[in-house]
């Protein structure tokens, strides 16, 4: 008898893979930006399916395939999850304390910098005739 294709292993693996790869996609939305719960959900679904698939593969090896490739897919998924968790819970929090930044009530340091059209813009320009300015420092796109 031909053993049946253990599809839960594959769906589980692709769900875990999606959990990893869709991170940039989900950061676009306010609800999933600050904490990537949608990605963890995909990893969770993937983990459950992979586990179910492995139980089938090892429990009923005459009916289901996947002892070897299932183990490989599960290991890859687990490694992907560990890397993802490391990036989210450790790497993203490696931000300097910035104790030297100007505080509320202090003067904002003056500056003049070129904009995207190479036109110099000074803080004084931004403040003249306005109610104030929002300065957003960001890491950049390179």
């Amino acid at each position: 008898m031909k053993r049946s294709w253990n599809w839960t292993l594959w769906i589980g693996f692709f769900s875990a893979l999606a959990g990893f790869l869709t991170y940039p996609f989900f950061t676009q939305f306010p609800a999933t930006r600050d904490f990537p719960w949608a990605n963890f959900l995909l990893f969770g679904v993937g983990g459950v399916l992979l586990l179910a698939g492995l139980v089938r593969a090892f429990g009923k090896p005459k009916l289901y395939r996947g002892k070897i490739f299932g183990s490989i897919l599960a290991t890859l998924s687990l490694l992907g999850f560990c890397l993802f968790a490391y990036l989210i819970f450790f790497e993203l929090k490696q931000v300097p304390a910035s104790t030297g930044a100007p505080r509320v009530g202090q003067k904002a340091p003056e500056f003049t910098l070129p904009d995207q059209n190479n036109k110099p813009i000074a803080l004084a320009d931004l403040l003249s005739g306005s109610k104030g300015a929002v300065l957003i420092f960001y890491r950049g796109f390179w």
Binding site: A108, Q116, A133
Partner: protein
């Protein structure tokens, strides 16, 4: 920054200017503006001089270990005084436009 672009009219309506500052060159910034539709100014500080002056340097955090800016947001009033600061402890968590607008309304009432 996408969220600030989406609500830029609310900043305009209150007379607030929005600018973003990074180590990217004006060429990269122009490309980004075109690609992402940003209409506020992206200011270029490739040597991170202003970034350093504002105390928001993240040393060696660039792709080739360059010094770059850590994410940070400042609200400066028309006299040049800082009225609100946000120094995130997580690179993925940035100030929302709503927070900045709220801080502005509060600082006006002080």
């Amino acid at each position: 920054m996408r969220s600030f672009q989406q609500r830029l009219s609310e900043f305009d309506a209150r007379g607030l200017r929005v600018v973003a500052i990074s180590v990217d060159t004006p060429e990269i910034n122009q490309r980004q503006c075109r690609k992402l539709g940003y209409t506020f100014s992206l200011l270029s500080d490739p040597k991170a001089e202003v970034i350093r002056r504002y105390g928001v340097l993240h040393p060696g955090a660039g792709p080739k270990h360059e010094d770059i800016a850590r994410p940070a947001e400042f609200l400066v009033d028309s006299t040049g005084t800082v009225r609100w600061v946000n120094l995130t402890e997580n690179i993925a968590v940035r100030a929302r436009p709503k927070e900045v607008l709220k801080a502005f309304e509060q600082s006006r009432n002080d």
